[in-house]
Symmetry: C2
Subunit: 148 residues, 2 copies
DNA sequence: TTATAAAAGGACAACAAGGTCTTTATATAA
DNA sequence: TTATATAAAGACCTTGTTGTCCTTTTATAA
């Protein structure tokens, strides 16, 4: 569904949010480890997010990535848009050049329902809302095992 | 959502079904033109479908692709499975190694609903049901314009 | 029986996504 | 002011998907 880079972005943002709530600023190395993603690639993802003001960054000693007040309450939709665009929310499920109510493909009615449902999730869920679930222990950020 | 090759496969199958209903057997060239896909690539897709008995084929003059009685009523799920596997129906939307009710990611509840909804569509819709919509004029197979 | 029209198969080319590495810029601490 | 820790940037590599081309097989018609 989502591109791998988008998944990394979302997981990284949730982790950064959790760290921020503990008044910690965190860097690439720690983030990559936590979200179980390759370090250099995570750096690129964070660079993209920073360039688009989803998060802010500080270079040098004690630097790292963090949310500002204005970059807070970011919706999943905004993150997806920045990472891979929003074509996923407009695409025809049957592969036609565009999706059209007036000239529907045979999957249109049902596919559109699903696609719009996903759009609704992307609009209603935020980095905040996801992070809250994790901090309340209702959800997990990774599958790091305690064994080994 | 679906791989391009899967989309080509579904569109091709619908067209073959429509042709079969008119007692016509059709070949790669015509299929590729109708579904607006590259000819050589369409040939590969049809080869895969034939190998997995989704459709049957005949070589030589007057040959082409067609459904048999046993390959009829194929669900979208079966086509997807053959073309790209079924990982799409099991994947964690947040990118974790696996999806788990017991150990959910923060997107799990909502994402699972969407994913399962898509699975339900894939199970309930068939090449038959899609083709019927097209033959009844309720849906279109392509976006070929009448202008030009 | 031969020519022809088709699918099957295999090799490979093009492109996009994912991923790595090295250098540069910048902030902080000693 | 210098050493160090960090992000930014750019060049590159790897892999998977999409797409092409050429040869082989097989059925039909002449
Ligand atoms: S026209 Fe295909 S999904 Fe809308
Ligand atoms: S655990 Fe992520 S979708 Fe189920």
């Amino acid at each position: 569904m989502l591109a791998k880079s988008t998944e990394y972005a979302i997981r990284a943002l949730v982790f950064i949010q959790l760290q921020n709530w503990q008044d910690k600023r965190t860097g690439v190395v720690e983030i990559a480890k936590e979200i179980e993603a390759p370090e250099a690639f995570t750096a690129k993802v964070l660079q993209t997010l920073t360039k688009h003001r989803i998060i802010a960054s500080m270079k040098g000693r004690g630097g790292g990535f963090f949310f500002t007040e204005t970059s807070d309450q970011m919706t999943l939709f905004q993150v997806i848009q920045v990472m891979e665009g929003e074509s996923i929310f407009h695409k025809c499920g049957f592969g036609l050049k565009n999706c059209s109510d007036a000239n529907p493909c045979p999957m249109h009615d049902k596919y559109r329902t699903i696609r719009d449902g996903f759009f609704a999730i992307a609009q209603s869920e935020t980095i905040h809302s996801l992070s809250r679930k994790v901090s309340e222990g209702k959800a997990v950020l990774n599958r790091v095992s305690f064994l080994n």
